[in-house]
Symmetry: C2
Subunit: 194 residues, 2 copies
């Protein structure tokens, strides 16, 4: 009997192809083959490759959101320690992949942000959901006097996260993993209360 | 009479296609058409698309190197002011393009860094040449007591530049150009001598 596929299985396999290979380097045929589904099933779930990519971004974004939430909700650590824990675990996961893949949201932002407004909007929406968790943790750290409060929490969240993404971009080409330590040292040096 | 093409003209046109569209979204046929050259001429200059991309990175990298050098050699400004001037002009150039394109070195680092070692090495080599100029300017600022010296100049250069690239990535999807101001404010707040 033919196995029935659901959209979650297809997105789980498909978003990983997009993350590791990029949008323009991943054909629909390849997705069909990797998922073991006929063309008809794909177009039953997705209008086109753009729609598949947007749903992949939302699938990946939700997975990441839950992962970040779990780390930043850990009340056994202080807000600053939780943030360090989050970026450490993120750096570690990337180093384990030899920094070959990175983050689907960041990758599609840079590859497609200038040429496809719908994909750009999906990347931005998912990035902002995650940033809202980071802002909330920073705000808690500011209230406790652990994090500087002369910048709004949202600004510090953007600043931290952008620095991390620049580091991800650089390590993808250079494989110089010490850049993660520099990121960690310098940004946390910057955000800590003086 | 048929116009003779030189490699510089092809690289000038070709690297712009790569920068605005990406590697996998730019076919050799499209480059031939944009440059108005026959296939034979292309393969006379380049072994293949990879080689064309590497030579494009070197062409773009050299142009950028000279541009950065010109700004950072301006002795009428202090090292800190020169650095601000550089990142300001870089942000301005990106905003003028609605942040749709960005930097060829950064774009290919993220699109190809995980799947093509030769392109990754070319991106990294060109990035490091530019970083050497930024480090030298920071070192001068440290000697003059204008820039903090508890971090090596190379670390501050990497940190500044990575933060800027993360900002470029974010603005490409979000079109939130205020992120450049945040970059400028926070990183220069961080590197200034206390």
């Amino acid at each position: 009997m033919r196995k029935k596929h659901n959209i979650d299985e297809i997105l789980e396999t498909g978003q990983e192809l997009l993350r590791t290979q990029g949008y323009n380097n991943t054909g629909v045929e390849e997705v069909l083959k990797a998922c073991g589904i006929p063309k008809g099933s794909f177009y039953n779930f997705f209008k086109n490759k753009e729609d598949f990519s947007i749903q992949s971004l939302d699938w990946y974004g939700e997975t990441q959101y839950q992962h970040v939430q779990q780390i930043l909700d850990n009340n056994e650590l202080s807000p600053m320690e939780r943030l360090k824990d989050f970026y450490n675990s993120n750096a570690k996961a990337n180093i384990e992949e030899n920094c070959a893949n990175g983050c689907l949201i960041g990758n599609l932002s840079l590859e497609m942000g200038g040429i496809n407004d719908n994909i750009a909007a999906a990347a931005d929406r998912n990035m902002k959901r995650i940033l809202s968790l980071i802002s909330a943790c920073i705000r808690e750290g500011q209230k406790r006097g652990e994090i500087r409060d002369d910048y709004p929490a949202e600004d510090l969240a953007n600043y931290l996260h952008n620095s991390f993404y620049g580091t991800l971009m650089r390590t993808k080409a250079s494989k110089d993993f010490s850049l993660f330590e520099l990121f960690q040292r310098a940004t946390f040096d910057f955000i800590k209360a003086k």
